[in-house]
Amino acid sequence: MGTVPRDRSVLSPAAFLLRGLAVGLAAGLIAFVVAFALGEPYVDDAIALEEAAAAQPPAEHPEHAEEAQEPAGQDGMVEISRENQKSWGLLTGTLAIGAALGGLAALAAAAVLGRLGLSARGSTALVALVGFVAVTLVPFTKYPATPPAVGSGETIGGRTASYFALLLVSVLAAIAVVVLANRLRARYDGWTAAFVGAGVYLVVVTGTGLLLPTVNELGDFPADTLWYFRRSSLVTLAALWASIGVGLTVLVGRMHDRAAADLARRELAASL
């Protein structure tokens, strides 16, 4: 009776990934609805301001600063209507990001399941919480979302590099402190380990944030529109991560329960 066939009681990475992709696509759809309802009015406001500003100097192609240098009509240059940008274009983006983050979160959930001294649901929810803080909240505090009309085409390279540098440090630091806190858990209690890990993470990302350049290209963009836009952006991202967290916790929890029940049945059968 020693050879127990290993199938349903063993969790496979592919099973996690499939759940992550499904949850991520659903989360992307939810993020689209939130972004469309809350954020698009301010994107429209910002584009109206941008076009008004562009109309002041001798009338040039208004839509984009970067396009002003390369007029439309050159090869590969297209103009997509605002209706398409704010509906299908926005949906494409939120679905792609949702699937990417959902899949990555699911693989992270697979890595920590059964390794942190938490239940399957607890460790999966923790992945989503850490993901929101490390991937979204920390980069947002230093380089918050900006509406169209804010930011110049010349600095896009530097701004992108700074943003992704902070994102990379934040994600690597988050992974490192989870490993660190998990080690500390053996010597201190879980809460102490968690607080030490969170503290180390905050020190690392704050230091990195201080070292990276500050971006301020606001000009005289109205502060209320800017704040409403940023708030809607953060709510969109929070909705994305909350959906990933809830969906993944439910699906991974169920998968784990099935595996545990299966394992229990086999062990019982083997012991009889």
Binding site: S9, S12, P13, L17, A31, A35, G39, E40, V43, H64, A65, E66, E67, D75, M77, V78, I80, Q85, K86, W88, G89, L90, T92, G93, T94, A96, I97, A100, G103, L107, A111, L113, G114, R115, S119, A120, P139, A145, P147, G151, S152, I156, G157, R159, T160, Y163, S233, T236, H256, D257, R258, A259, A260, A261, D262, L263, A264, R265, E267, L268
Partner: protein, 78 residues
Amino acid sequence: MSQSSATPLAAPAIQVPAIQVPAVPLLQLGTWVVFFGLLAMLAIFFVSADQGALSLFAGNAVHEWVHDARHLLGYPCH
């Protein structure tokens, strides 16, 4: 962590020892992380940066199409 649930599949009501579902082996997981990590980075790149800071494709079609998502999901744009 005993997670013996109350689903119909669960064992009958005999003393069930604490069941620990084996963790996913990290080496096995690593292959998937590399494989999907690359795909995910590509997807994130197209939404966040293509035809902005870097350009994989010439033109501006990708940038224009995902433009609102790039702004609203907090990536640097114009």
